[in-house]
């Protein structure tokens, strides 16, 4: 039997690299998409050494939505049937960092929301006929409720979660699972210089993601306790929530 294949969008991100290593160890074929060519080459050789059967990559700036068809086509050429698509690119800005720069704020939307939704949709349509596989995307616990310090980032993630929730219903009858991954803060380059409250390691989160894909889960909070924390956060009455400074 041919090994299965995984397509990783935003492959140079910390969490994506962690997940890719798991699939390399399983001997899968891996298709990487990211912007930085040198970084892609380094990851490619690493995954081959860790046991991946075949690794190819495509360099693309994912903000450029006009290239997304090319990304999907590249992935389909790499492998007729796509086992898993993981969409992992994103940027993080605290509200204060972008408050006086509307363009910068919309940039966060372009990367995290517009480009993600475009890819989700295109991969969904492309995989419709194969009637198997998983489409997974990394959103965030920050998408569960708008907070004063992080609402641009949070709302992009909320948009993705909302979109994906609908997709899940549409694709389930077709045998395709759509997974919404909601990590808390993870010790990755994206978090450098930020507080890692209840921070998790890439290894923990990557392991959870792989397990959730295997079990065909719909929504994953990782580490697990975020499910509890966010349920409480969502229940806090608005008048009280407005007074909490975080």
């Amino acid at each position: 039997m041919n090994p299965s294949s995984i397509v990783i969008i935003g492959a140079t991100s910390g969490i994506a690299q962690g997940v890719a290593r798991h699939y390399a160890q399983r001997g899968w074929n891996i298709y990487l998409v990211a912007r930085n060519t040198d970084a892609l080459a380094a990851i490619q050789s690493d995954l081959l050494a860790r046991g991946a059967m075949k690794v190819e990559s495509m360099a693309a700036d994912l903000r450029d939505v006009s290239r997304h068809d090319e990304v999907v086509k590249g992935a389909q050429q790499f492998s007729e049937t796509i086992g898993v698509v993981l969409i992992a690119h994103g940027i993080l800005r605290n509200q204060l960092e972008i408050d006086y720069d509307a363009d910068e704020m919309l940039q966060v939307w372009n990367v995290n929301a517009t480009s993600s939704i475009s890819l989700l949709h295109r991969f969904g349509v492309a995989m419709e006929t194969q009637r198997s596989g998983t489409i997974a995307i990394i959103s965030s616990v920050a998408g569960d409720r708008g907070r004063r310090s992080l609402y641009t980032y949070g709302s992009t993630k909320a948009a993705v979660s909302h979109f994906v929730a609908g997709m899940r219903g549409r694709y389930k009858p077709l045998g395709i699972n759509v997974l919404d991954i909601k990590p808390g803060p993870v010790d990755t380059p994206m978090m450098t210089g930020r507080t890692l409250m209840l921070g998790a390691t890439v290894e923990t989160v990557a392991k959870d993601i792989v397990a959730a894909i295997d079990k065909r889960k719909g929504v994953l909070y990782t580490p697990w306790f975020w499910r509890v924390i966010m349920r409480i956060v969502r229940m806090i009455p608005e008048p009280i929530f407005l007074k909490i400074k975080f």
């Binding site: 140079t12 991100s13 910390g14 160890q25 990211a34 912007r35 930085n36 040198d38 970084a39 380094a42 990851i43 050789s45 690493d46 081959l48 050494a49 860790r50 046991g51 940027i91 993080l92 605290n94 204060l96 960092e97 972008i98 910068e104 940039q107 310090s149 992080l150 380059p189 994206m190 450098t192 210089g193 930020r194 507080t195 890692l196 409250m197 921070g199 975080f246």
Partner: protein, 466 residues
């Protein structure tokens, strides 16, 4: 999330940003958690190209912080953490040659190479060290008498210096810089990748024998006998034993075994416990340590015990307990490791053990090993042919430090030395005397933009960054 200055540089993934000390939750610290240290800034390199090439304060690379003392610390200086640079650049499964970024841990390396019948040629007592750290400290293991130090198996490496230059170093290219970098304590530049020759193994199963020795003399004799036939040997000493039984202990010896079915054996999945919080200081105090040592010695009833076990518990018994250094409480711990030239070995070992007891030093774990004759390419490399003794101890008061200084003098008087990777307290003048010739040859290779707490302590007798 606190209020912070806008910083847009992370628009480019993997870009480098300064961590403000207040934000850092894990200030780089050493395994002994002594001395306390705070870097001026900490930078996480996601890619080897992130290593700073221009500096305005002394820089030091930091791996997994398993050095016991301050060789991995840079109080007041800048630190670049390398653990994310852990990609394998190439792996030749036929020849067992692997080239990987310096932040790759031995734990990860084993996951990659053991399934193909290869093992690390030399490993310290923990698998949570990076390749860069293993080179910079030229680590040794239970097979030193057979294969020498880690540095003996490095084929080549890449060094990035703070003037922006990049050097490929091996025994033939930039040989002097290569020799200064192995055991160079990270002072010659930042090691970005390392290529090593792995060791072929028939399986991941190890045969271990444990021989009970009644006295130091018996222990050293058993060590000599074991070294002749076994690839891996090390002895545990009951430090609390006195008089005629002084230095009694267990000689452990092992070798990889061929599996009857010709397979490598199943991957090992042992339980990993973790020490969640700092323990109170009485937990490892004299009475409890004494009790542990007696129980451990008497656990084995017969003279010889033979077991078969997986390589991981054989090489890394302490890794089964995560952050065990927290057991030593707030004050932290230190490790004393010295080497004594062979002729004087037993006599000096006895005097050191007595000196420790007189100073009221209670050591939880004491380990003895005989180094072999293989010379490392590393200029500042610690091992010399002879006996090496390693003692773990909780930091206590002045008498402990004074007893250790007396041991230093004893060691130096017979031509021995102490190990920088374990040290946090040797006097600068003493260390400079122990490594006088080596330091003179080492100095010209130091990167002027790099330094460490250890090196300032040794060379400026503790004076701060100018």
């Amino acid at each position: 999330m606190g209020r912070r200055r806008s910083n847009r540089s992370n628009r480019h993934f993997g870009n480098l940003r300064r961590i403000k000390p207040a934000v850092m939750e894990q200030l780089p610290s050493s395994w002994g958690r002594y001395p306390a240290s705070r870097a001026r800034s900490v930078v996480d390199a996601a890619w080897t190209s992130d290593v700073p090439s221009r500096v305005d304060a002394p820089l030091l690379a930091y791996g997994l912080g398993r050095s016991y003392g301050d060789v991995c610390l840079n109080d007041g200086g800048d630190v670049v953490r390398m653990h994310r640079c852990d990609r394998v650049l190439s792996f030749d499964r036929e020849l067992g040659i692997i080239r990987a970024e310096a932040g790759l841990s031995i734990a990860d390396l084993l996951r990659i190479c053991v399934p193909h019948g290869w093992f690390v040629p030399v490993t310290p007592g923990t698998r949570y060290v990076t390749l860069g750290g293993a080179v910079a400290n030229d680590v040794h293991g239970k097979n030193h008498h057979r294969v020498g130090t880690f540095g003996c198996h490095v084929r080549c490496l890449e060094l990035r210096r703070t003037d922006g230059s990049v050097h490929l170093c091996s025994l033939t290219d930039n040989a002097n810089l290569f020799s200064a970098t192995i055991a160079g304590m990270g002072l010659t530049g930042v090691i970005t990748w390392v290529e090593i020759q792995l060791l072929p193994i028939a399986s991941r199963i190890v045969i271990q024998e444990s021989v009970k020795a009644k006295s130091l003399h018996d222990l050293i004799e058993q060590t000599d006998a074991s070294d002749a036939d076994w690839d891996y040997t090390v002895s545990w000493i009951d430090v609390m034993s006195r008089g005629s039984s002084l230095g009694r202990g267990l000689v452990l010896r092992g070798r990889f075994q061929d599996m009857a079915d010709g397979t490598l054996g199943k991957p090992w999945k042992g339980p990993i416990l973790s020490v969640p919080i700092e323990a109170p200081s009485w937990l490892l105090s004299k009475p409890t340590i004494s009790l542990f040592n007696t129980v451990w010695y008497n656990r084995q009833l017969g003279r010889l015990k033979r077991t078969e076990l997986d390589a991981e518990p054989f090489f890394y018994p302490l890794d089964a307990v995560g952050s065990w250094n927290l057991l030593y409480g707030r004050r932290g711990m230190l490790q004393y490791q010295c080497v004594i030239p062979a002729d004087d070995g037993e006599r000096v070992m006895r005097r050191i053990l007595e000196e420790m007891q007189r100073g009221g030093v209670s050591s939880f774990l004491a380990v003895l090993k005989k180094f072999g004759p293989l010379v490392s390419p590393g200029l500042m490399s610690f091992p010399r042919p002879g006996l090496t003794l390693t003692l773990d101890m909780p930091i206590s008061g002045k008498p402990m430090f004074e007893a250790l200084h007396r041991c230093d003098e004893l060691v130096h008087s017979v031509g021995g030395r102490v190990y920088s990777a374990k040290d946090s307290r040797v006097r600068g003048s003493m260390f400079r005397a122990m490594y006088a010739d080596e330091i003179a040859r080492f100095l010209p290779h130091i990167d002027p933009g790099m330094s460490s707490s250890f090196w300032r302590r040794i060379m400026n007798d503790g004076k701060d960054i100018a």
